[in-house]
């Protein structure tokens, strides 16, 4: 057990830290968080800066430990969040890096790291949320193309994405997990209609997608036909395994800011509230250690995060909600002001126990796949 970083890793950290200190003050002002077209421009611009400085491929081109350092340092410095690049950098990209052919990696990865193309995730359907494998959007082979018809829902950032990691059913007669295929769909293909959905936070962050005979080249298939469920497991292991790493650091920053705020407004003398902040601090400290544990395990086993991601996500998602509930207590009546810091965070934190697999589903996964309890019906 070793928590020290190698000289090389420390070197990487220091160079990154210095670059961030130089670069962050030169960034344009942050756009309105609810304005996704503006955020796309901003987020992709930030990615371009990272690329130009040599940090473009850190999400999958480096070791898991370097990736961890990168996420830690960028969050500590208060650098822009991945935002519109979330899917491309944190789960579609890593999936393509792990499962794609050389030609596919060459086609899709460079534009993501250069901040030229954004991705979205077309997995969920109106009748296939938690029961993702029951998805029905169908793809029929027509020569060199799949012709895709159906609908998707909750597609985050669909309106501003260039590509979509799409799950389709290619064999309706096979058992539900066996007839699925993972495709990369260009969002400008004819037949795609995107209808924004408004979230409870007021933004059009996700959307419905209607697919009407959308022609997708067979060459855009990652993995074999009907082997998409296996590829999906890789995508989900990144989504649950590494995608939240930076956010743990962000939560620790927030805790410090909350302590300052409470000291200023007198709430610090409330024993129960102060101790809740203390407990959350201990807990986020442990969540960070658990992250390091999981990253070390991934590093030992060759890169793909293991199922420990579900264990992490279960506790993290609830802890993050508790953090913003506590923030509301610190703020008092100000927590009802949408313009105050943390009010929007409190609203968006409501999704953590739902998105990327609900807590109930994560508990099923932990119970069945880690603890070996019998499958329920």
């Amino acid at each position: 057990m070793d928590l020290t970083y190698t000289e090389e890793e420390e070197d990487f950290r220091l160079r990154l830290r210095a670059w961030l200190a130089r670069t962050l003050p030169t960034l344009p002002p942050k756009p309105d968080p609810l304005d996704w077209p503006a955020r796309r421009t901003y987020d992709l611009g930030w990615q371009r800066r990272l690329y130009d400085a040599g940090y473009g491929e850190v999400h999958w081109g480096s070791t898991p430990t370097q990736h961890l350092i990168y996420l830690e340092e960028t969050e500590k410095a208060g650098a822009p969040y991945v935002g519109a690049n979330f899917v491309g950098l944190l789960h579609a990209g890593p999936t393509i890096a792990a499962e794609g052919t050389a030609a596919q990696r060459e086609r899709w990865l460079p534009p993501v790291v250069r901040g030229e193309e954004a991705w979205c995730q077309g997995f969920s359907e109106p009748d296939a949320g938690s029961d993702l494998a029951s998805l029905r959007t169908k793809a029929v082979r027509d020569g060199d193309h799949y012709v895709v018809t159906g609908s998707k829902i909750w597609t985050s950032h669909a309106e501003v994405a260039d590509w979509c990691e799409l799950l389709v059913r290619t064999d309706p007669t096979a058992p539900k997990h066996r007839g699925i295929t993972w495709l990369a769909m260009p969002m400008d293909t004819p037949g795609i209609t995107v209808r924004p959905l408004r979230t409870l936070a007021g933004s059009a962050e996700f959307a419905e997608m209607f697919l009407d005979e959308v022609r997708i080249p067979v060459a855009n298939r990652v993995g074999e036909e009907n082997d998409g469920w296996r590829v999906t497991m890789v995508t989900l292991s990144y989504e649950r395994g590494t995608a939240f790493v930076g956010e743990v650091v962000q939560c620790r920053r927030t805790l410090g800011q909350l302590a300052d705020a409470a000291r200023e407004n007198g709430r610090w003398d409330d024993d129960a509230l102060r101790r809740r902040l203390g407990r959350l601090s201990a807990e986020f400290g442990a969540l960070w250690r658990l992250t390091q544990w999981n990253v070390s395990e991934a590093q030992r086993s060759g890169g793909v995060p293991g199922i420990g991601g579900s264990v992490f996500k279960l506790r993290y998602s609830h802890a993050r909600q508790e953090l913003y509930e506590t923030a509301a207590e610190v703020l008092g009546p100000d927590s009802l002001d949408l313009d105050r810091e943390w009010t929007a965070d409190r609203l968006s934190s409501l999704s953590y126990t739902i998105a990327a697999g609900t807590s109930q589903i994560q508990q099923n996964i932990v119970a069945e796949r880690i603890l070996g309890l019998p499958k329920g019906r």
């Binding site: 070793d2 203390g278 201990a282 442990a286 250690r289 658990l290 070390s296 309890l373």
Partner: protein, 289 residues
């Protein structure tokens, strides 16, 4: 950074697990409960196996390992519900004669309750005003003292490691029972309500594990206190959930669940209180990192 067990650490842990399974398995545990006194023969064997002298330098006759190794071994002791003032004796190695070899039993006044006072050969701290109480844990005789000294960081951490072992063990017990006990024509573990109890037990254990191991590696006092906070939580709540999974069987003297719960209560009641640890963490909180 390689925050995983090394091969040597794994071997050490497995070795102790095997040793304890052979020497302090189910039957020995229940015998100990009936007897209520400390098994000096076993204590000596544990000393010979290096449990107490693990961190003592080799030059002084110890094993010369560090806190991370001690934590792994204490986790095993917690799993097995090994009785005795293990932490105090371990920390007395090299200070109190015979502690490292298991020839002495050492207890310490480092909480408002003191373990195994009457059976110890040596007491660290002032126990003059100690008053015996009827201990909730049949395997940990307790005395009450008025003014407690502060528990050293290493003792806090090793106690957390014992709690971690117990939390892991009750998770295993619940899962094992849920796979075999049938109701409504299927194993109860196929029911989601039971599954989710078990999943949460694992989550608590793994979070506590990361905290305990990391605190052992960094050796920081605040981190040790945080580890104990989470490990106390894991041990106590897991034992309660395990009892729930066992149903009526869990409420019997016969099942081992209550032994884990009672020991977890005793350990949680020693060292800094949850409120004190929370206050320490709060005091350390400052603006952006």
């Amino acid at each position: 950074m390689d925050f995983q067990l090394s091969d040597d650490q794994r071997a050490l842990r497995d070795g102790f697990r095997d040793l304890l399974a052979g020497r302090f398995g189910r039957e020995a545990l229940r015998e100990a409960v009936d007897r209520g006194s400390l098994d000096r023969g076993l204590w000596k064997e544990l000393g010979d196996a290096g449990l107490f002298g693990l961190c003592l330098p080799e030059a002084d006759g110890g094993v010369g390992l560090g806190l991370p190794e001690a934590v792994l071994v204490f986790e095993e002791a917690g799993r097995a519900l090994l009785p005795g003032p293990l932490v105090a004796t371990h920390l007395a190695a090299g200070v109190v004669k015979g502690a490292d070899t298991g020839e002495s039993v050492v207890t310490a006044v480092d909480g408002e309750v003191v373990e195994w006072l009457a059976e110890s050969d040596h007491v660290r701290g002032d126990a003059s005003a100690a008053r015996e109480i009827r201990s909730v844990d049949p395997l940990t005789p307790l005395h009450r003292v008025a003014h407690a000294q502060e528990m050293p960081d290493a003792a806090v951490l090793l106690t957390a490691a014992l709690q971690l072992g117990s939390a892991g063990r009750t998770t295993e017990m619940a899962v094992q029972y849920a796979k075999t006990r049938e109701q409504f024509g299927q194993p109860i573990g196929a029911f989601q309500a039971v599954k989710h109890l078990c999943a949460q037990m694992l989550v608590r254990t793994e979070l506590a594990r990361a905290a305990v191991y990391a605190a052992a590696v960094t050796g920081e006092g605040l981190e040790a206190a945080g580890a104990k906070l989470l490990a106390d939580d894991a041990a106590v709540r897991n034992a309660r959930d395990c009892l729930q999974v066992y149903g009526g069987m869990g409420f019997t003297w016969e099942a081992d669940v209550h032994l884990h719960l009672k020991r977890a209560w005793v350990r949680a009641g020693r060292g800094p209180t949850a409120a004190q640890v929370e206050d320490r963490f709060a005091a350390a909180l400052r603006g952006p990192l």
